[in-house]
């Protein structure tokens, strides 16, 4: 029987999922959104469903009733949500099940529980994972917040229970600032999530973000596939990730991995998932949260373990048992990922939009490119700014950094500005080379002129002069303009000389 898989997502992850799903014999179906009609991912699908979402406020990718309706109309048996959008929406997972479709991911109940951070923490405590000190559950009043803050000591962090992406989150340095921040965080949380519940925790300075990849089946078999370090973030958005983390010793890796598995077992988790830890300057680690989806940075784990995570997500959803044992997992070499975002790093990462005049990525056995764009793609602001991911693999960290720099140097995206020049600077920075970077690194080190380079400036001045000379010549002699083929300073100057 035909296995019809709807990928309720777009961009590079849609293409990534299709690649593996086709190997497993799925017919792959995607939506064509009116907000992104000529998208690259459409070329990879077996079938395309027109979404007709031009007049809707949100795109098809967020519209549960419409997705379900169209899926039924097209005899969809399986739905993969990708990441973002509805991937961690328990109502969507439930709606799929209610309409006899297989949701590629864990149960709605698992998604719901892990989405509520207070519940996730209760489970973590039960499983014996270290937790950051804080309120036990939701803090209902400023008075209660004051008592808890005094107990654990400032600075503290106010966090929205339903939050994410930094919204509804406030660092409070001293008691006088508590009331004001409590009120504004609550207001922001209500606006963003329709839920103003806040909780409090001890604020950790110099934190590193370490996450463990988990795979579990429906029969209680759970393994971890090592960690990823995702500390290089800007406004809680990851930019560069690496696996393994330079901050973990083998002993700590084993211990944290065991705890991650223990946690997943405690909650009865199945599918691919990620357990996030915060590692502080003393090397102590704390459970943060669990993500119940495939993550953007999953390829670095795939490169160092040789395991296809999407394949296992699909197999597990089809009730297959996990045949890989923990002892089969060997971490091999080092992998780094850079997210190529359409953002202007010279202008505080303002989003860029426009037309991709040309795009070139280097390819090799150890450079993996996951792209959602091609020449002619239009980048608009309807969707997030990630265009592509460059992922490299090598035998050790220094070589992986070197390879990534090379890959970034060879990548050319003409038409819009991207974060690539910024990554080149980061990868050459001593803090990154030494692995000494925290989630605050960008905040502390970014300046709009961080990208400035003496030699580039000289080349820029040279180019401007050549262009000026060409323009001037055109005016003066009315000769036809030059093509780039005969762009030669020497030829040009002979002509100027006339």
């Amino acid at each position: 029987m035909e296995k019809r898989l709807l990928i309720a997502n777009r961009g590079e992850i849609a293409i990534r999922i299709i690649r593996t799903a086709k190997k497993l014999g799925f017919t792959c179906i995607v939506f064509q959104s009116d907000k992104d009609t000529d998208a690259y991912y459409l070329k990879f699908a077996d079938e395309i469903i027109t979404a007709n979402d031009a007049h809707n406020e949100t795109s098809i990718f967020l519209n549960i009733p419409k997705i379900i309706e169209l899926a039924q109309e097209h005899q969809i048996g399986y739905i993969h949500p990708g990441y973002g959008f509805l991937s961690e929406n328990p109502d969507f997972a439930q709606a799929c099940i209610d309409h006899q479709m297989v949701f590629i991911g864990p149960s709605p109940e698992l998604i719901r529980n892990m989405g509520l951070k207070t519940i996730a923490k209760e489970f973590a405590q039960k499983a014996g994972l270290p937790l950051i000190q804080g309120s036990e559950g939701v803090v209902n009043s400023i008075e209660q917040a004051q008592i808890i803050a005094e107990k654990i000591g400032y600075p503290i962090l106010l966090k929205a229970s339903a939050g994410g992406g930094g919204r509804g989150m406030r660092i409070v340095e001293k008691p006088e600032a508590l009331e004001r921040n409590f009120n504004s965080a609550q207001k922001e949380a209500i606006t963003a999530f329709g839920n103003g519940d806040l909780f409090i925790e001890k604020y950790i300075s110099q934190p590193k973000h370490i996450e463990f990849q988990i795979l579990g089946d429906k029969y209680g078999n759970i393994i971890h596939l090592g960690e990823r370090e995702c500390s290089l973030q800007r406004k809680h958005q990851k930019m560069i990730e690496e696996a393994p983390s330079p901050a973990l010793t083998p002993e700590k890796r084993e211990k944290m991995g065991q705890l991650a598995v223990q946690f997943a077992k405690t909650i009865g988790y199945y599918s691919a998932g990620t357990i996030e830890f915060l590692l502080d300057g003393n090397g102590d680690y704390y459970f943060m949260e669990m993500n119940t989806r495939i993550q953007v940075e999953h390829p670095i784990t795939e490169l160092i373990t040789g395991i296809d995570l999407i394949e296992w997500q699909l197999k597990i959803a089809m009730d297959e048992p996990l045949t890989i044992k923990q002892e089969d997992i060997k971490l091999n070499g080092w992998a780094i990922e850079c997210r190529v975002n359409a953002e202007d790093a010279q202008n505080r990462f303002a989003p860029e939009s426009g037309f991709i005049e040309s795009v070139y990525f280097p390819t090799s056995d150890t450079i993996r490119i996951e792209t959602g764009i091609e020449q002619g793609s239009v980048v608009n602001t309807n969707f997030d700014s990630m265009l592509a991911k460059i992922i490299v693999h090598d035998t050790d960290r220094a070589l992986a950094i070197e390879k990534m720099l090379k890959a970034l140097n060879y990548t050319q995206i003409i038409g819009i500005k991207t974060t690539i020049p910024f990554y080149k600077k980061v990868l050459q920075h001593n803090d990154f080379i030494l692995g000494n970077y925290t989630t605050k690194w960008i905040e502390e080190n970014y300046k709009p002129d961080i990208l400035y380079d003496d030699e580039e400036e000289i080349i820029g001045a040279l180019t401007a002069s050549i262009v000026y000379a060409l323009d001037y010549l055109k005016l003066a002699s009315n000769t036809p303009s030059y093509t780039n083929d005969d762009l030669s300073i020497w030829v040009l100057n002979k002509r100027i000389n006339k």
């Binding site: 140097n409 030699e455 400036e457 180019t463 401007a464 002069s465 050549i466 780039n484 300073i489």
Partner: protein
């Protein structure tokens, strides 16, 4: 020496690029050598065949340049994805602008006077030529000794007051130049 007489004294090949932060680059585009930037010949070569961009190689590094925008003489160039802005002037427009600004016009005139009495043996430059700072422009013989003289500034030769074979007195004006230095 490569840089000694490198300008070949053609002022139409010199362009002055001023960056957004006020940095000045004297860019000389020669006929048959590498570009000379701020009096130094740099081993920058062109990579041909780049589409909609200007590609260069310098010290084994590749630079892809795209003209993001141009408005009159203001250019925004993306060099390997990083934006740099310049205003470009030819030497004549640069000097005209400097002369119009009373503040700066004082700095323009530079005169070479004969330091000792003697006879002009040779003049290496012509009016309109570009000269480099400290590059000999004239040879004067006095007391059976030939001496070369230079100006301490970069500029363009405005007027030559003497001829070959002519005798000069101490402090006679020999050559007048318009400085292109700040």
């Amino acid at each position: 020496m490569a840089t000694q007489y490198i300008y070949k004294r053609d002022a139409t090949r010199l362009f002055i690029a001023i960056s957004e932060t006020g940095k000045k680059f004297n860019i000389y585009l020669p006929v048959e050598s590498n570009p000379i930037i701020n009096n130094v010949e740099l081993p920058i070569t062109i990579i041909n065949g780049c589409i909609s961009s200007y590609c260069f190689k310098w010290n084994n590094k590749r630079y892809t340049c795209i003209v993001k925008s141009k408005e009159q003489n203001k250019y925004t160039i993306l060099v390997n994805g990083v934006e740099y802005k310049f205003s470009i002037e030819s030497i004549s427009s640069y000097l005209r602008r400097k002369l119009l600004s009373t503040e700066e016009s004082a700095k323009i005139q530079n005169v070479l006077r004969a330091p000792i009495p003697g006879k002009v043996i040779d003049i290496y430059v012509s009016e309109g030529d570009l000269i480099n700072a400290n590059e000999p422009v004239i040879n004067i013989e006095s007391m059976k000794m030939q001496n070369e003289y230079a100006l301490p500034v970069n500029g363009i030769v405005r007027k030559i007051y003497v001829q070959r074979g002519q005798s000069v007195m101490k402090d006679d004006v020999l050559i007048e130049i318009d400085s292109i230095d700040e």
